[in-house]
């Protein structure tokens, strides 16, 4: 055998050289792991979203996090993007979306990496003003809340009342289309966007829906229709004593002993992070393009039921179904 060949074989048999060769081959793989820049709002729920995201992308996407605060501006984002060179940006929370939108507006000639926005209110509307961004909506659709509540209740849920402001007409139309698929008719009562006598108008709307004998109420999270004043002067006096089940999207309205919310459906933040990871992988598989990747509805929720209110209102439930509820308040 040729001396040179023999020498090469000896080299290959030496463990240190084998390791060095392995390292040389392995090193580019490690370096090639793509990077995601996470801009996230401060707070426990947003940290939970990130935990879910991280758990699913672990080993496939390196995440670098920048937590939002009052001191973080679009300039900091610019610096971070320059430093990290992310393949994708993940925006968690409205504050992250706002600062990133400012960054995009201040740098109109720049090419932006794809971005996924989530855990922010009205993602679908905000994304319209952004470049190369898609996302997951935060608001839980009525169909999710009502189908879950219907499974728990031992009474009919076919006609559901909802009060909304006129700017939310598209929200109502979209929700009506989904609930129709499930045999549930959303009976909407529209109010003006602004009114000096909003409490009075709200009271009239709730009373009208009660007269129409709706099977349940679905309360939309809208600060104008659901605030301290409207709650004390309209919602609670009219629905507190009613036997009509009320489904809410805020934990506090079902947790308290207000005798108001029977059932709350809230986002599962960890699962929301996992859903975002799935979207990130779709974008990765499409060579970092968001083309055809539409804004998604949130898929996973947490369910809370207040049994005190259930009993006080004389609502009938299927007791075995309580094992499927995340939090049963007794």
């Amino acid at each position: 055998m040729d001396k040179k060949l023999k020498a090469m074989m000896v080299c290959f048999l030496r463990p240190d050289i084998v390791m060095l060769i392995c390292f040389c081959f392995a090193a580019p793989t490690v370096a090639a792991e793509p990077t995601g820049l996470v801009l996230r709002a401060d707070g426990e729920v947003f940290a939970e979203v990130l935990a879910g995201l991280s758990s699913d992308v672990e080993g496939e996407l390196r995440l670098v996090e920048l937590k939002m605060s009052k001191n973080i501006s679009f300039r900091d984002i610019k610096k971070e993007i320059k430093k990290v060179k992310p393949h994708i940006i993940i925006l968690i929370g409205n504050s992250a979306m706002n600062v990133y939108t400012q960054y995009q507006n201040r740098n109109p000639n720049q090419a932006f990496p794809p971005a996924v926005a989530l855990a922010a209110l009205y993602v679908n509307k905000l994304v319209e003003k952004m470049s190369n961004t898609t996302g997951i909506r935060y608001e839980i659709p009525a169909v999710t809340s009502l189908v879950n509540m219907r499974a728990l209740l031992d009474q009919q849920v076919k006609k559901v009342g909802v009060v909304y402001r006129s700017w939310m007409q598209d929200v109502l139309d979209e929700n009506t289309a989904y609930t129709k698929l499930e045999g549930i008719n959303l009976v909407g009562h529209v109010l003006p966007n602004r009114d000096q006598n909003m409490v009075g108008k709200l009271r009239a709307a709730i009373s009208k829906l009660l007269d129409e004998k709706v099977d349940a109420f679905w309360i939309i999270n809208d600060n104008t229709l659901l605030n301290r004043e409207t709650f004390v002067k309209a919602w609670l006096p009219l629905l507190g004593d009613s036997s009509t089940p009320v489904v809410v999207g805020v934990k506090s309205l079902v947790e308290s002993n207000l005798n108001f919310g029977v059932y709350a459906i809230v986002p599962d933040h960890y699962a929301l992070g996992i859903q975002a990871a799935s979207m990130v992988f779709d974008i990765m598989d499409a060579n970092w393009s968001i083309d055809g990747i539409e804004i998604q509805q949130p898929i996973s929720v947490k369910k809370i039921v207040n049994m005190k209110v259930v009993s006080q209102k004389g609502i009938h439930i299927v007791p075995e179904k309580l094992t499927e509820v995340d939090n049963v308040i007794h």
Binding site: D56, E58, V147, G183, A271, S278, Q297, I299, E324
Partner: protein
């Protein structure tokens, strides 16, 4: 100085003896992941009541189960057969049966019309994640014998929203889950039969030493617990 050395030695001895003591009395560990609509805390309590010799952790998500089990190597795992098959070093001691068999047929469920199973290449199929992204995708491709786009969800109840929101063309579910979905939903759900079966829950261990403890505990599994685990009885492997 001598006193200090003696102190250090005695602390070291104490810590060694405490360690060995705690190891000897430590419970065997059991990790559980079985897809069910029942919440994990309820399943955990139920299992703890019948298996007091085990320190039990019930996972609600397949990927969390896989990663934690990989890190901590529990003595026993209670999960579906495909997950056990991907967990090296475990041997199944007890296998769940339903209607006398160890696996359950799976169907493709879609909205309004049957899905054409001869060409699923451009279709998105929703599945409950048992194994994490890569392994689950491979597993589904292997089951369906086609490279479909796999949409994973973490909870069984999240499969229905995939159809409601058109996020998947079909979902892959067991016949019993299809029954439950049809009861819950008023969507026009259409099932397409597939030649696909997935193994039911089984109990597997990585050490023969826990066999007796397992034997003792499984004898206490009642019909309520078995229903939660998706089986009606157990057989020794």
């Amino acid at each position: 100085m001598k006193n200090r050395i003696a102190q250090v030695i005695s602390i070291c001895l104490l810590s060694f003896s405490t360690q060995s003591f705690s190891t000897s009395i430590a419970d065997a560990t059991m990790h559980v992941f079985v897809p069910t609509d029942v919440r994990t805390n309820i399943l955990q309590k139920k299992l703890e009541s019948v298996c007091p010799d085990f320190s039990i952790t019930v996972f609600g998500r397949g990927q969390d189960f896989v990663s934690q089990s990989h890190k901590t190597h529990p003595d026993v795992i209670l999960t579906l057969m495909p997950v056990i098959e991907k967990s090296s070093g475990y041997h199944s001691y007890f296998i769940g049966l339903k209607n006398g068999v160890t696996s359950e047929p799976y169907l493709l469920v879609s909205k309004d019309r049957e899905i054409n199973t001869t060409d699923l290449s451009n279709k998105t199929i929703g599945v409950l994640d048992l194994l994490g992204r890569k392994l689950m995708t491979e597993y589904v491709h292997q089951l369906l014998k086609q490279n479909v786009k796999v949409k994973r969800v973490t909870k069984r109840e999240d499969l229905l929203p995939l159809l409601i929101f058109n996020a998947a063309n079909a979902i892959l579910v067991s016949r019993s889950v299809f029954g439950a979905l049809s009861e819950k939903s008023q969507l026009n759900l259409v099932a397409t039969e597939m030649d696909v079966s997935i193994g039911l829950a089984a109990l597997a261990a990585n050490d023969d030493a826990v066999k007796d403890k397992l034997d003792k505990c499984i004898k206490k599994f009642d019909s309520h617990l078995n229903t939660m685990l998706g089986v009606d009885q157990w057989t020794k492997n």
